[in-house]
Each structure stands twice: as structure tokens, then as C-alpha cells.
Amino acid sequence: MKVLYFAWVRQRIGVGHETVSPPDGVATVAALVDWLRTRGPGYAEAFKDTRAIRCAVNQEYVEPDHPVIAGDEVAFFPPVTGG
């Protein structure tokens, strides 16, 4: 599973993208976030307030209960500020 981070999520975690293999029980975005939080203090800091974070799976916006499977591209980022 490829995970991408943008803006301050990327800065707090320290990498822009990585390939991860979460355990079998991690089947939703929310579960993936809980698992990522255990990977280090930067992750815990990045995912401290999940209301401030948006998620896309395979480049489409999704809610926390959306399923994730091996091979997905999952991205976490703050609300967008372009334009």
C-alpha cells in the first residue's frame, strides 16, 4: 500500500510518501490512521486532530470508514487552499 502525505502532514511525518504493509486487521482509513500513529512521534503529531485532515483513496476523496486494501494509493493532507 502506497501512502502519501502533503503540506504540514508531510512535514510532521518527515516523508512525502512511503510504502507500508499494515497488518490484516487494518481494513479502513480510520484503522490505517490508528496504525500509522504507532509508527513514531511525527505520525502521532500529524494525526493528533483528524478533523483537520482529509483523505483520498486512489485519488478520490473518502470518509474514515472507507475500505483500504493492499495496492491502494492512500493520501492524507489538510483541507485544500489552492486557487
Binding site: L4, F6, A7, Q59, A75, P78, V80, T81, G82, G83
Partner: protein, 150 residues
Amino acid sequence: MTVRVQEQDFDVGAELAALTAGNHGIGGLGVFVGLVRDIADGSSVAGMTLEHYPGMTERQLEAIEAEARARWPLEASLIVHRVGRLEPGDNIVLVACASAHRQAALDATAFLIDWLKTKAPFWKLEETPQGEHWVDARESDDAAAARWGR
């Protein structure tokens, strides 16, 4: 029908001329250009860096544009958004919609920029005397996009 994300500047006149060239069914062209201001939330801004999510950006912009074309009878449309470091006065984004009639052109242009601001994955890192900081999303942008319904 064209969406571009690029580091280099765009030439508004040349882009609009290319968009309308040879199409004599166009009666109105609506345009919005977003520029970098030298002040934001009371702080002076020396510059900003625009980050985006390559792939998803184009996908979202194309989806937004397709939605506009489903809602209004457009003859042509264009979204160009810059990324990378920009300074005050620089162009950020160009949105243009051409239609037989002015109301469709103006409404579609407003729709595109409202939705782009809430859906397209771009983030602004501003440089101020207090240091660099990521721009917060504005509730007013969500409200502007919500006017258009789903």
C-alpha cells in the same frame, strides 16, 4: 476542456485567444485570474510555495470541469494552475469559460473557481515576517462552494 498544472507563468491574453480562436458561436467569455497578494490576514507576504498532489489534482480539476460542462452549455473552458514558488503580483490560477450567452459563461467561471478552491488538492505555504506557515482553509470558501449544491 483543458486543465493544466505548471510551474511556469501563463499569458492570459494568449490563453484566451487560443481558447476562443475560430469559434464564432462564442458570445461571452468569463474569466477569473487569481494573483498573489502582498498581504494576508494582516501579515505581509514575501512569497508562497504551492504544493499539489500530482495526478489527483488533474483528476479533480477534470471532474470539476466536467461538472461545469454538464450544468452549462459551454463552448470552451480552461483551467491553468501554477505550482512552485510565487511572489506578490504573480499569477496563481486562470479559469475561463466561453458560451453562446454571458450568464452561462459568468456562472460557470464562478462555479469552477469556487469548487477548485474546495476540491483541488493544492496547499499554500506563505512566507511572512513571522516565518513560514501553511494557509488555513477558509470557511467562506466552503460556503461559496456550497451555494452550488451537489
